[in-house]
């Protein structure tokens, strides 16, 4: 479903600020794979998701989605295949537009936006139905500007918008990190439901070890622009957060001793 080969991304190349964000990433996701991604700050997780969604174009390598090479395709054209939810609850919705207007944009995704009415009675009925699945009472507030919702409500709406028109790939970048524990749990539950209901292929970045283990069927650890650990479904169930922490320490130690060897 998703195949990355030799993905490389360097920020500010040939300058003092040069920063290799992705060294050479190879990753293959089968249809229905739900991969959790962990790794230290600056490991390149967000950059990887940006390369998949098209927000950033890779310097080298190929991105293939469902057999189609999208390496050079701009973000807005990939949107019919790739949907995402960001860490910042403000990022996934337009604050001055109403809930139904926001949803109408998700509704038009992949269809192109013509001169048809954005809001019709039929669409409204569907919006209500979909919002009701969130169980937040948003179905009765279609005309409310999204800026008046709380972070948790906005994130739930972002998630609904991302999966409204079924994408091939769903990207989640620490999408529960800005929420308090109970709302993070709510969004996690909604995420699992949405992925199962739509049989989505998904990548979820998280810093929460137990979340990384509890969700998904596969786990990937990144460090310094590379994938350093890829745990398949069978092994993932046996892992504990302590295993992951030990692995982290081992990899960081390895990186450290490499450097000391060089000195």
């Amino acid at each position: 479903m998703l195949r990355l080969t030799g993905i490389r991304k360097v920020f500010y190349p040939h300058s003092v600020n040069e920063r290799v964000a992705l060294r050479s990433i190879d990753l293959h996701l089968a249809p229905g794979d739900f991969v959790t991604v962990i790794g230290s700050n600056g490991a390149g997780k967000s950059t990887l998701l940006n390369v998949i969604s098209g927000r950033i174009l890779a310097d080298a390598g190929d991105v293939v989605i469902d057999g189609q090479s999208v390496t050079r395709m701009p973000e807005y054209r990939r949107a019919r295949m790739v949907a995402r939810v960001f860490q910042d609850p403000m990022a996934g919705t337009a604050p001055h537009l109403t809930i139904e207007e926001n949803l109408s944009i998700a509704h038009a995704r992949g269809r192109g936006s013509g001169l048809r009415r954005a809001i019709t009675r039929a669409k409204r009925a569907r919006f209500r139905e979909e919002l009701a699945t969130l169980e937040l009472g948003l179905e009765d507030r279609l005309g409310t500007p999204v800026g008046m919702l709380s972070g948790g409500q906005r994130q739930a709406l972002s998630l609904l918008m991302a999966t409204y028109v079924q994408p091939k790939i769903l990207l989640l970048d620490e999408h529960t990190a800005a929420l308090d524990p109970s709302r993070a749990a709510l969004i996690s539950r909604l995420t699992t439901v949405a992925i199962e209901r739509n049989h989505l292929t998904a990548l979820m970045v998280t810093h929460n070890m137990s979340q990384a283990l509890a969700m998904g069927n596969r786990l990937v650890m990144m460090h310094d622009g590379a994938i350093v650990l890829d745990v398949p479904a069978a092994e993932k169930d046996r892992l504990t957060p302590q295993h992951l922490l030990d692995e982290f320490a081992r990899i960081k130690g390895a990186a450290f001793s490499d450097r000391t060897l060089l000195d």
Partner: protein, 314 residues
Amino acid sequence: MIIALQLGLLYAVMALGVYLTYRVLDFPDLTVDGSFTTGASVTSVLIVGGQSPLLATVAGLLAGAVAGCVTGLLHTAGRINPLLAGILTQIALYSINLRIMGKANVPLLGQTTLLSPLRDSGQLTTWVGVGVFAGVVLAVGLVTVWFLGTDMGVALRATGDNEAMASSQGVSVDRAKVLGLTISNALVGLCGALVAQFAGFADISMGIGLIVAGLASVIIGQALLSGRTVWVAVVAVVLGSIVYRGVIQIALGVGLNPNDMKLISAVLVVVALVLPRTAPLRQWRRLRASRVAVPDLTETDAPEAAAPTGEAAR
């Protein structure tokens, strides 16, 4: 006062264009000063050349559209900062407008214009004239409201509101910006065409500082009538334009001369921008916002970003 009302209504067409860029797209577009004169000069030259005034007016509208499209392409394809892209087009249009007119001023006296029937029957500066202009503004306003309610219009609004979100939801934000600038300057060109026919001439300097009048109308309108639906915003812009012309007319009435008007306009905009941010007004807005805020059913904390309308008044 009829004259202020008429000018307010006529210039409201331009102000609606400014609303589309400044407010909807969040793109401060300075093309306006040039594209207004382009609309006026194209129309005037065609009328003098014997073309039908309707055709000439449509040509003025299209000329404005082209100017807006150029600014849009400078910004999107050329990656030029919005303000600079607008200024570049505006300056270039100064030369182009002179080329179109061949001189600095094209009089329309004695020519058949769209307004000739009104002028000839002596109704131009009466309430009949006001009614006709109101009809024009109503039509333009309705089309604007209709457009902003289509999928494309909502995509445009989302682009101005949260570009990253729009792009991730499949909106080509570059195309949306070019489209918005094109439509906006089409309205500005149309306004230039109408003003030239009303005033009886096109002049190379008629657009100078016009963007400030447009901004003033949008900002005054929003200060007077803030609402979150598109049609309220559109009505507010028209209202703002009328109030603005009224204030200018009063300023002229107390003995200030037309050359002082640019200063008055700038001061008006500053006041309209700063005043809503002063403490008592903010408090009032916050009160209103909290009354309509949505209780969060999942948790207890207060909703953030509680005042989108207040935010919009900046």
